[in-house]
Structure formats: structure tokens, C-alpha cells
């Protein structure tokens, strides 16, 4: 029924020759084939991009729909909208009752879920290969036809608040990380947590969500990725059938809100009931989405490998095993971030050491990197790990689809992932030192520490019966 209505309205469009909503140009592009990777891509006339990677190892497939909207599209007062909308996407369309989506997928043997990040919202189903039409029909339906029922929203916003309590409020390390991010990013939308501030969740309403959905859930703002035992031409035909009839629309304009240049060290303390201290250090650094020099992000990737790529890397070796100042320590950096990235260290001091000792030990490692060229052995180790990792990734169709979807959605090309080995291989020792000197400096640094507060008594208070065992 829905389909018939839709065709009728298209006919009207053609007759009148103009419309109240701005008409969108034909955005279609022919099928492109990248034989080396078994990847095919095509853009439908409504702007929807479809990418297929054939992988015939097992008779299964994963289908993912990626939208270019996430917490970084939000602004103050409505944080968490993209994530709450992700929850509402399961709560019914004009054709489907709430949660019927999940029931249909389950009956087809599917595994499904969704996730929201700073720069994307994505939905996926993993299924036996012949079930792809089920996935496409349901995803095309909910791309445009969600109905926002007040009573469903009222329950679901409670669910999201429970999720926030579980992930953040009652987890002292997550809580520290959230406040750290809010300090390390001032004007960038990365300032706010993906799940949203509790007060914003409390004040969100169903109209906010409907507006958000109408603005962003459009074929010209989405990428469909299918990886598995499928034939690309069949997938494109199926995509045309299900997603082809959906209307494109102009997308909201988002101002860049490029993070300001930091002007000196920032420190903060987070007090929370806890037993073990914790520390996070983050240096503002270039990323592929925020860099003038294309090699810098790759040099930073190798640098994080030198510091933390395995148990034989510097942080584990020096801080955990030799100096024994850390009970745990890790370093993180992601070149593929569209906005300003943070080069991070986080860890827990060992017994008899403080977070200050741990920070000093990290700073010493940074100094060493800045003053001494890394060894050939270390560089070769990082490169060997990257080469092996590329093979291991192929064991998971889900991961392969993730990698494609994420890059496409953040306006980078999936091909970057396949050029990754070459880009890493061309990083020199001097470049590693250069990025360490340029970015790992106090003026770029934010430090957050968790200051554990008493947990009160954790003794049993009430026992209604004894715990004796029979027999």
C-alpha cells in the first residue's frame, strides 16, 4: 500500500514540473569495480551510495546502513539526540509495530543491532546470504517511515537513561573520561558525550527526535555496505528496488566548529566513589580529517604502535615491567577521525605509586621519543603487526564492512583502508620524532585524574534467608 502511494506522488511531481520542496538533481553514478579488492560501488539517483565487497568464504553476509549523523551533528541542549533516535528506529513504522523489526530479523536467523558514534549512526544485520532482501526491505522502510509514538518515546528515554547510568554514572573511569573530553574539547562538538548529558535526556521530547529524523535520515545522507557471499550486481538491483524509490532532500548545514588552538596545559580532577585511582592524558593532534600534512596522521599511528603496539612495546616494557610504576597503561590514537584527534594515555598506578608518578613516567617516555630516534627493530615490529593485522581482519566480514562504512561516512574513502599498509610503510623514523615534538607538548595537553571517594560499607545489610546448601 505504501508503495502505491509513493508512485502516485512521484507521478504528480512529473506532471506539475515543480514542487514546494526543492527538487534534487539525479545523483546516480555507474557501477565502479575495484577488482583488486573485490569491491564494487554504485550511487543511486537519489544519492544513496551502495558498496559491495564480495567474500565467498562462508554462505553469510552482513548488511549495514550508515548515516552521516552523530553526536558531532548536535549542539548544546540537545546532546544525545542521534543516539536516542537510534533507539527509536526499532519502535515502529507505518507498516511495523514497535520491535517488530527485531522479531522479523530474529525469525530469519539474523543478528542485528545498531551503534552511534560521534560522526555516524549505523544499523546492521548479519544473516545467511539469501536473507539480504529481508534486511533491505526493512532498512528501506525505516529510512523514511518511522512513526514517533509518544508512549514509546517515554519508555525508551528511560531505557537510554538506564544505559547512561550503567555505562557512565556508575563507572568511575567512564565518568572521568567524559569530563576529560569535555575539558579537552572546548568548542568542537566532541566536547559532549555521544549518549548525551543527563539533563539533556531529561528535557528531550518526541518532536525533537522527529525533526532530527526528517533532517538526516535521507538516502542522500546514507551509505549501504554489504560484505559476504553475494553477487554485486544482484545487490545493486535489490538496492534499487528497495531504496531507489526513497526521496532525497537537502541536508541541514552544519558549521565546522573546528576546535580552537589550545593555549596551555589543562588539569581537572573527578571525584567519584572508587577504590583505584586512574589518569588520562590527551594531547590535541592532527588527524586525517584535521591536518595540513597527510603523512602526520600515519606517523602518529606508528608512534602509538611504538609506544603501545603489543606487550613488547615501550609502555608495557618500561612502565609496567621495568619501573613498575603502572598496574596498567595504554596509549590510543586514531588517524581516521574527521575532527581534531587526541593522542591519549590512560592508566592506573601500581601499588605504592601515585597518578603523579605515572604522569611523570609517561612524560619521560615522550621525552625519549622526542630526543632519540626509534630503532629499526621497533619500526619493523610495528609494520609487521600492521601487515598481519590486515590479513586477520579478513576473518571477519563484520569488521570489513565496518571499516568501509566508517571511512565512507566520515568523508574519507574506503580505499584509504587498503592504502593503509603503504602509508604506514612509508613513515620514517624522523617523521615519528617530528610528530612527537610537534604535538606531544604541554600546550596541547589535558590531564584528568580520578580521585577515589569512599565506597561506604560494602557489607551485606539485609539477608532474608541463610545461604545454606542442601544435601
Amino acid at each position: 500500500m505504501k508503495k502505491l502511494l509513493f508512485l502516485a506522488s512521484l507521478g504528480l511531481f512529473a506532471l506539475s514540473g515543480c514542487a514546494t520542496t526543492p527538487s534534487m538533481p539525479d545523483m546516480s553514478k555507474p557501477i565502479k569495480r575495484y577488482a583488486d579488492f573485490n569491491v564494487y560501488e554504485k550511487t543511486l539517483s537519489n544519492g544513496l551510495k551502495v558498496i559491495v565487497k564480495e567474500d565467498h568464504r562462508a554462505p553469510v553476509m552482513v548488511s549495514q546502513v550508515w548515516y552521516k549523523v552523530g553526536s558531532s551533528s548536535e549542539h548544546s541542549g540537545v546532546t544525545g539526540l542521534s543516539h536516542v533516535l537510534e533507539h527509536m528506529m526499532f519502535k515502529g513504522t507505518e507498516k511495523l509495530a514497535p520491535n517488530q523489526f527485531s522479531k522479523i530479523i530474529a525469525e530469519n536467523g539474523g543478528r542485528e543491532n545498531a551503534f552511534t558514534g560521534r560522526d555516524y549512526t549505523a544499523y546492521f544485520q548479519q544473516m545467511e546470504k539469501r536473507r539480504l532482501p529481508v534486511s533491505f526491505e526493512l532498512e528501506a522502510d525505516r529510512m523514511r517511515n518511522i512513526i514517533f509514538l509518544e508512549e514509546e518515546f517515554k519508555k525508551e528515554i528511560q531505557v537510554v537513561m538506564e544505559e547512561r547510568r550503567m555505562r557512565t554514572e556508575d563507572n568511575p573511569q567512564s565518568l572521568t573520561y567524559e569530563q576529560f573530553s569535555a575539558a579537552a574539547y572546548v568548542n568542537s562538538p566532541y566536547h559532549a558525550p555521544v549518549i548525551g548529558w543527563m539533563n539533556d535526556l531529561e528535557n528531550m521530547n518526541v518532536h525533537d527526535l522527529k525533526k532530527w529524523y526528517d533532517a538526516w535520515y535521507r538516502p542522500n545522507n546514507a551509505t549501504v555496505v554489504v560484505v559476504g557471499d553475494v553477487q554485486a550486481d544482484e545487490v545493486f538491483a535489490l538496492a534499487e528496488e528497495h531504496f531507489g524509490p526513497l526521496n532525497a532532500a537537502p541536508l541541514p548545514e552544519i558549521k565546522p566548529r573546528k576546535e580552537i588552538q589550545q593555549k596551555g596545559l589543562r588539569r581537572l580532577t573527578v571525584k567519584a566513589p572508587a577504590q583505584v585511582p586512574y589518569m588520562i592524558m590527551g594531547y590535541q593532534a592532527a588527524s586525517l580529517g584535521d591536518s595540513n600534512e597527510d603523512w602526520e596522521p600515519y606517523a602518529l599511528e606508528v608512534l602509538v604502535g611504538v609506544l603501545d603496539g603489543g606487550i613488547s612495546a615501550r609502555l608495557e616494557t618500561s612502565l609496567v615491567r621495568e619501573q613498575q610504576v603502572a598496574a596498567s597503561i595504554g596509549s590510543g590514537y586514531d588517524a581516521f577521525t574527521p575532527g581534531r584527534e587526541l593522542f591519549m594515555f590512560s592508566g592506573t598506578p601500581s601499588q605504592g605509586h601515585t597518578v603523579d608518578n605515572l604522569e611523570q613516567a609517561v612524560r619521560e617516555q615522550i621525552k625519549i621519543i622526542q630526543s632519540e630516534i626509534v630503532s629499526d627493530v621497533e619500526l619493523e615490529r610495528v609494520k609487521a603487526q600492521v601487515v598481519a593485522g590486515k590479513v586477520y581482519e579478513k576473518d571477519s566480514i563484520f569488521y570489513q564492512a565496518m571499516s568501509i562504512g566508517r571511512l565512507e561516512t566520515t568523508n574519507m574513502s574506503w580505499k584509504l583502508a587498503d592504502q593503509y599498509i603503504n602509508n604506514i610503510n612509508s613513515v620514517t623514523k624522523e617523521q615519528i620524532q617530528a610528530v612527537a615534538k610537534k604535538y606531544l607538548i604541554d600546550d596541547n595537553l589535558t590531564v584528568a585524574v580520578l580521585d577515589p571517594q569512599p565506597l561506604d560499607s560494602s557489607k551485606p545489610r539485609v539477608r532474608s534467608a541463610g545461604g545454606r546448601h542442601g544435601g
Binding site: 562462508a58 530474529a106 603496539g309 615491567r321 598481519a388 545454606r468
Partner: protein
Amino acid sequence: MVKFLFLVLAFVSFTSQAGEKIQHWVTDNGVRVYFYPAPELPMMDLRIVFDAGAARDGDKKGVALMTNGMLAEGAGNWDSGEIAARFDGVGAVFSNSSHRDMSVMSLRSLTDEKLLKTALTTFTTVLTNPTFPKDAFERERKRLLIGLERQKQSPDAISDKVFYSALYGDHPYASETTGEIETVQAMTIADLKAFYQQYFVAKNAVIALVGALDREQAEKLVNDVVADLSVGSIAEAIPEVNKLDKADKIEIAFPSSQSHIMVGQPGIKRGDADYFPLYVGNHVLGGSGMVSKLFDEIREKRGLAYSSYSYFIPMRQQGPFLLGLQTKNESADAALKVLHDVVADFVKNGPSEKDLIAAKKNLVGGFALRIASNKSMVENLASIGFYNQPLDYLETFISNVEAVTLAQVKDAFQRRVNPDKLVTVIVGDTSKAQAKAE
């Protein structure tokens, strides 16, 4: 509406191919080997599992975990840094973990001859010639103690510990793998060595191997890895678990915004005759994620929690049947009542015909996903081997699921789950719930 009814496909024969390709043999010194050739990618996954989990700790709680963790901290002539550098340098991934039943060591490597050789030599040395150096032992002990401290700040970890302790009393499954602060402090290297000598032996081991190898290469590889393991003997049987004789409710005050609730009782063993009726039935009750009864009642209908679930965890002996959720302190009582009601109703009335069919369709239709990667296959093989499941376990999985009837589910739940003798653990700021009730 009608459109969505298409595509209820019959399952097809490819699902049995995985089973047919599994090869099994026993090495000269008694290691049981399960091999699955996967020629598509130039890599291999090797997993060795010993019956040497925390259930073997005895009074020295934590010794199984420490022994497992210390293997790669010194072996042959190498210290921990050299061992790690040998794995990292060839892009191999070594990992280890210790559970209540199992002590596991895994290696993922490229099958390029030179790279694989270095990875395997290192793995073999770690497995068969660990040196348990003193400095590493002291360091790892300290790290474990910090881990034990960290558990005290996690309502999840606290409820887990209390739950197992209440379910299992003085049975070996009562303890956490991480042991206790006092037992970890008292532990010695001699304890670890004795544990290693007794349990890390050929007859107590199972190897799972998946990758781009032929049978001949696989046999040689396994022989090289285990040749220096002493024969030893299989670990003694773990005692049976007693049923709970009454219900129990334990509340732990904790300054969190949510109450973490766990409910359950001892469940089933691997290979239990009721396994399939209980497994399929629980899929309806709380095992199928977003479409289960618990999810529907707790989250969909009432918005009380982000996650709610129920599982049987079949182990060597009766692993737990557990149900859980987290909800804000103020709704703890309401959520707990719904949870208890759902279980009681399910045991009394069983699933509906419609729900049972839906659960079976999900399990049957989704079977292909369980055997689609080398990672999942090596996990399947290790579990089949460790728990002495039949070699055709994967081949017959679908027909076993399809054969389950409504009457069997109802009967099995009524015999095996007693809603009047459940342990309930609540960790949270329970005063909030009580204040609301008043």
C-alpha cells in the same frame, strides 16, 4: 504487512559441511586434537585448553589464574620482554585466559613459513618450559591485587562474586578466578610450579587448530608443540553441585545510581540430556537479545532497564542458570517483581507455540553465522573437545534444535528450574528502593 512474510527458508545442506571437515586424533603423549582446514586465508589459529581452571584452585584461590598468567612471563632462556618481542615481531597474537573450568592459551599467526616458525617456537617454549621468574611473579601478584581492589568499585563485579558464592557454597565453582586478597598475598612460586606440573600435562589437554594447513602439516605442527609436555593424567572429576534447598536474598549497599540484580540457581552440565529443550526454551525466555520475553517485559513494555537477560552456562558440572538486569535504585523492587513473575510464569506455562517456532527459526537460520569465521570455528572445536561433545555436534545442532517440542521445554523447565528456590542478589543503594516503598 503481507510483504514481510516472505522468505521463511528451509535450511540447507551447507550447514553440515563444517562438521564433516572436522578431523580428530590423539597425539602419542595423549593430547586430543581437533583440526579444521581453512585454506582461504594465509593464517592459522591454535588454541590449547587444559582442565586447569579456578575449579582446581583448592585453598590457594587464584593459583590457576596466576599460573596461566605467568607462563609467558619467562620461558626457556627468555624473559617476558623477549617472549613478547618474538610474538610481536612476526605479527603473531598470543593470548591467554583462565576461567572456572578452562585454562586457555591461544596463538594467531600468519602461515608464512618463517613467521609461523618463530611464533610456534615461542609458543611451544612458553607452554612446555615456563620458568616462573621471581621478579615477574611479584609484579603480577601486585597487578592482580590492584585488580581485586578495582572489583570493589564495580557493582557488576560485586554482584557476580556474591551470586556465585551464594549458588555454590563450598563447591569449587563458588570462587572467582581472581582469588581473594589474602590467598593471593599468601601465594608462592612453588604453588604455581606444583599446579603447572599437575595440570599442564598432555592427558589433561585439548588442542583446537584452524587454518591454511593440510593434515600432514597440522599433525607435525601439533606434535612439535606438545612433544615436551609430560604425559601426566587427566584431572580428577569435579564434584556434583547440590541443589539449593531454599530461596535466598542478599542485598549489598553500594553508592551507585543503579541496582544490579542477579537471580538464579545451579543449572546444567555440558552434554546434559535436557540441554536442547532448556537451551531453546531459554532462547524464548531471555537468551535471544531484543526479542526475548524478559527483554519485552522489562524493557519494551516498561522501560525499566537497558539490558535484561537469562542464560544457562553449561559447564563441566552444573554451571549457573542466571537472570539479570540493572535498573535505577528507585525501580529495583518493581523490576525484580517483574523478573520473578516472568520466570514463574514461564516455568508454569512454558512458551507459546508461536514463540517456540520463532526461537527455533532464529537458531536454525542463524547457524551459518556460528561457523563463518576461523575465530568462531576454533572456539567451537575447543569447546567440543574440552567437554567431550560428539564430533558431529555441529552437524547435528540444527536437527537437535528442530526436534525440541513444546512439551519437552515445559517438562525440562519444571524439573530443572525451581522459582521458589532462587538466589537473588541486589547491589545498589537499596535505601532508595525502600524509601520509595514507604
